[in-house]
């Protein structure tokens, strides 16, 4: 179980003032759930995800994973404790091949066949990709899917995906939805997806709406989604669809 208690993340604003990006946020995520976190841009969703992974250091509060306070743990320690993270903007590596990255993710020298299975799960024709470098010769959609494959290869108890739909074209997006629908069925651990997409919201067990650095609402998809579709948030979802990523 992931428990977040009174979490605050403060940054220096313009001038001498500070601003709470995350402002006393409380959230509990039960094991094995598929959670989609949504809400308006600038509300703190991605920041929350990075705070859970340890990419950003919290200002105050607690993050507790299975009863262990991980607030002071670094990224490596959190990764080893069972948290995985798919970044919104995947990183390029000169010289590191897709197979190398998947092996690092799996933590062992997995076979090409096993690597290909992970790639197939994200809809990449594996043979064409295992030997390729994870560099700018790959398209945004390809990098995104490889990023997701690294999380699948880790197979940890908590997997976080930060806006998987950001930066990919509509065609890739159709396939991406299938990837998540499939993951929904096969993955054993807890999944947290930051997303604005109705089709991703639609496969959630629970939806969490974050606004102004706080949890505005949290509940079962069947309860929350209809409300979202009839509110300002739905309008903002529609606008974002037209306007692109956060």
């Amino acid at each position: 179980m992931l428990e977040i208690k009174n979490l605050t993340y403060r940054v220096d604003d313009e001038g001498d003032t500070t601003k709470e990006i995350i402002d006393g946020l409380d959230l509990t995520v039960e094991d094995g759930k598929f959670i989609v976190i949504t809400g308006p841009n600038g509300g703190g969703k991605s920041t929350l995800a990075k705070l859970i992974m340890g990419v950003n250091q919290l200002t105050s509060g607690q993050i507790i994973l299975d009863g262990v306070d991980i607030s002071d743990r670094n990224i490596t320690e959190r990764a080893k404790m069972g948290i995985s993270f798919a970044f919104q903007a995947p990183v390029h590596f000169k010289g590191i091949r897709v197979i190398d990255l998947l092996r690092l993710a799996a933590g062992e020298n997995i076979s090409v066949a096993t690597a290909c299975e992970y790639l197939s799960k994200v809809g990449l024709c594996a043979k064409d990709y295992v030997e390729r470098e994870v560099n700018s010769s790959l398209s945004g959609g390809e990098l995104k899917r490889i990023e997701i494959a690294t999380v699948l290869a880790r197979g940890t108890k908590l997997s976080i995906f930060d806006e998987p739909e950001a930066g990919i074209d509509l065609w890739s997006f159709q396939n991406l939805i299938k990837v998540f629908e499939n993951m929904r069925k096969t993955i054993k651990g807890t999944i947290i997806v930051i997303s604005h997409q109705e089709r991703i919201l639609n496969i959630a067990d629970e939806i969490v709406v974050i606004e102004n650095g706080k949890v505005k609402t949290q509940g079962p998809k069947d309860v929350i989604l209809p409300k979202l579709l009839g509110t300002d948030s739905a309008a903002s979802i529609a606008c974002e669809r037209l306007g692109g990523e956060e």
Binding site: M53, V55, N74, I75, T76, A79, K80, I83, S84, F85, F87, A89, P90, V91, H92, F93, K94, G95, I96, R97, D100, L101, L104, A105, G107, T150, R154
Partner: protein
């Protein structure tokens, strides 16, 4: 061939050789020949006026290889050697050179290899040169290779220069002249650490129409080491030239990149790229999120970069 364990290990490092190689070879250990083999198509002849060998590849020779590794395991040895390659027309061969120094003593050990290639019409060669140093003596391990490449019409030369570990001081000087339709590809991978210094100086002259050259250097400078990479491409006709220097700088290292393009013809298309920077923070974060420590992440990034 009688090589001791140290020499065998060096041979493994510089030429991936664990036993006597197939095909033609000449192994030089501590300034003298430790073994040689020639084939029907590849002859190796000792020079009479100076140290070194002539390697003569008959026209039309296909798919053969020549290994010419050099091993220095005596401290204080200064070795200078002239190796001339004559590659016949239409030949297609692989040449594996390389030098390893094991220096346990307090005196400097040095090997300067001067390699000259005469590459015949439409011939193709792949040249692999690895440098390696080891041993915990105070004496420096010094390598100053010189490579001159003269390419005839339609020839193709691919050179891979690798120096990853243990060489204290290197000055690499390369000159290439290309005739019509000739192609040259150079890939250099270099890592320096401690207080090592490495200078690479490449000069490529594109003389013939349609000739092309691609000089790519990937390097990592750690600790207090220093690297200077200088590349000059001269285009005297309709030709294509590209040079790229990509360096990762770490610790208190110092990296200098000096690209120079010199076009003397309106159809000479010359490009250079140079980039020096530290390892990107988001690369470290990504690998740490896979469970690697910061040090392990750095190692992976560097190893990939130098591949």
């Amino acid at each position: 061939m009688a090589l001791d364990a140290i020499q065998k290990n060096i041979l493994h490092e510089v030429a991936d050789l664990d036993s006597i190689p197939q095909g033609a070879y000449n192994i030089r250990a501590n300034g003298t020949s430790a073994g040689r083999n020639t084939t029907a198509n590849i002859d190796i002849v000792s020079k009479e006026d100076k140290p070194g060998i002539d390697i003569i590849v008959k026209p039309g020779t296909k798919g053969e290889s020549v290994h010419i590794p050099v091993v220095l395991s005596e401290s204080g040895l200064k070795d200078m050697v002239y190796n001339d390659f004559y590659i016949g027309e239409d030949a297609d061969v692989t040449i594996v050179a390389g030098c390893g120094i094991h220096n346990c003593g307090d005196q400097d050990s040095q090997h300067d290899g001067i390699h000259t290639f005469h590459v015949g019409k439409n011939a193709r060669i792949k040249y692999v040169e690895k440098h390696y140093g080891e041993g915990d003596g105070k004496g420096a391990r010094i390598l100053n290779p010189v490579t001159n490449v003269y390419q005839e019409e339609g020839s193709y030369v691919e050179m891979e220069m690798v120096q990853i570990k243990g060489v204290d001081s290197t000055v690499r000087t390369n000159l290439a002249e290309l005739k019509e339709g000739a192609t040259l590809l150079i890939h250099e991978a270099l890592m320096t650490h401690g207080s090592q210094t490495a200078t690479s100086d490449y000069r490529v002259v594109l003389e013939g129409e349609g000739s092309s050259a691609d000089v790519v250097s990937r390097s990592v400078a750690k600790d207090d080491s220093e690297q200077i990479f200088e590349v000059a491409i001269e285009g005297n006709t309709a030709c294509n030239g590209h040079a790229a220097c990509d360096a990762i700088i770490m610790g208190n290292a110092h990296v200098v990149a000096i690209p120079k393009l010199d076009a003397k013809n309106v159809d000479a298309a010359l490009i250079h790229e140079a980039a020096i920077g530290k390892i990107a923070g988001d690369q470290l974060i990504k690998l740490m999120s896979l469970g690697l420590t910061e040090e392990e992440a750095e190692e992976q990034i560097v190893a990939g970069f130098l591949r």
